[in-house]
Assembly symmetry: C2
Homo-oligomer: 277 residues x 2
């Protein structure tokens, strides 16, 4: 039996000079590779001085015991601060330094080794375009408005509660894409025609479906015991939606087994919206 | 003069078994350390088979020239697929494998080496809570509704166009936090009192300000030449807002030099919303 098999969970820290988003994401990907081990996670963002590095080290070292060595994932780029962090008695997993050396060799250049964040404001234009995309998404959510529907880069179509709204917000917020979304309702299912306001924009449409079981469960939370939430109604709507998508050659995905990030990535790939930035 | 100093930009690829979000984020953090080098970036997500790995290798290798070695950042975890990717003639920067070995040593465990994504659905509960938070945010955006204002975990307060809405959506979407936001308008500035509907929830409030120059510019895009967009009006509102925040001990940030991610990270840290997950 190894030391780390003990009942107590292993502390895992995510240290960063910025928001800690990258440290947490990549650290968690690594932790996922150890499904048998329990972890308690904590993020320590904005480590921008040697002093705050010293504080962070004191904090993580306080969790070390004879049995358990905590894991410290770091994306800190500043060399002086990194050197301070490496004083930790825990296991220091540098998500940045080792790769940086490799890239230096390939590029025949020295890295700046400056602190920084993947999530700092890079330029005002980028910020403005995110803001505009989010505002567009809110205005054009759930068919609430068609004012600037012609400006949409993607129009998400789906029966109620299949995940249109979060996917829309994600594409707007993370990728500054102008996304409208439009609900498919009973009257749309009477024919295989696209809803009239959307019909001119079939080439921008993207469908979302789900499974009847899942959709019925989600709808049931909102209106328990209703026809709207019944498996039969959900199955009917999903079949009609799918047939509409096929008729009009509208690509579609099933949201029941995908995360919002995955749906967004598929939509962008399919609609060729992977912008260079 | 080194090979990579040539005029043509260096191709940088982000390869992943999932969405490619982590590969792109961390890869870009590394590229940021080389401000003098021009890059063209491309993401290749969803590499989930040896065949798709082979295709990816063909694609990246096609961009290699005698002068320029492209950079290939990868977060692919599956060993067989990784082995295939390593056949590339480009520089392969493994954002996963080397750190995994280190963690294996610390934990005295073997990693599962299974493909996976930081952004796949982990459980339905997490997905549902994101959906609910996004719906809450849309309903309570810009003071549009006060229906469930008592359920808010954070209430963002700011003069118009300081960045309340995107920050709200980010907190909801990425962290499943119930966030309402409320605009401060002229009548709120007549006294230092909090707006009446918000007053009972001062301990949940968080303020956003900006600089007069920046705010005037943003407002000018919407209503050019208006009093609303004038520097004088912006300055007045920002000063009054700041004084209101100070009076009620409401923490606040200046959005003009921060990204949405940074604002979200500060708000969560200040309001102690860094949940364990």
């Amino acid at each position: 039996m190894s030391a780390q098999d003990h009942a107590a969970p292993t502390p895992a820290f995510f240290l960063a000079g910025g928001t800690g988003i990258s440290a947490e994401t990549l650290g968690n990907m690594i932790l996922q590779q150890f499904p048998g081990v329990r972890f308690v996670r904590q993020k320590i963002p904005f480590i921008t001085s040697v002093d705050s590095a010293r504080e962070a080290v004191a904090m993580v070292d306080a969790t070390k015991t004879d049995e358990i060595t905590p894991l410290v994932f770091s994306t800190v780029a500043d060399e002086e601060i990194r050197a301070e962090l490496m004083q930790t008695k825990c296991a220091f997993i540098d998500l940045f330094g080792s790769q940086l050396d490799e890239v230096e060799r390939v590029l025949h250049r020295e890295a700046a080794h400056k602190g920084g964040s993947a999530h700092a404001v890079r330029n005002q234009t980028e910020y403005d375009s995110r803001m505009k995309a989010v505002e567009y998404a809110i205005e054009h959510d759930d068919g609430a408005s068609l004012r600037a529907i012609d400006k949409a880069e993607v129009i998400l179509l789906a029966p109620s509660r299949c995940g249109k709204t979060p996917t829309t917000m994600y594409l707007a917020l993370q990728h500054s894409i102008f996304v409208a979304n439009y609900p498919l309702v009973d009257e749309d299912f009477e024919s295989a025609r696209l809803p009239r306001p959307i019909a001119p924009y079939a080439d921008k449409c993207f469908g979302i479906v789900s499974t009847a079981a899942r959709l019925s469960q989600v709808r049931g939370e909102r209106r328990p015991g209703s026809k709207y939430a019944s498996q039969a109604q959900c199955l009917y709507e999903l079949r009609r939606a799918e047939s509409m998508f096929r008729t009009h050659k509208i690509p579609f995905i099933n949201s029941s087994a995908m995360s919002i990030e995955e749906m967004a990535a598929v939509i962008m790939q399919t609609r060729k919206l992977n912008r260079v930035h």
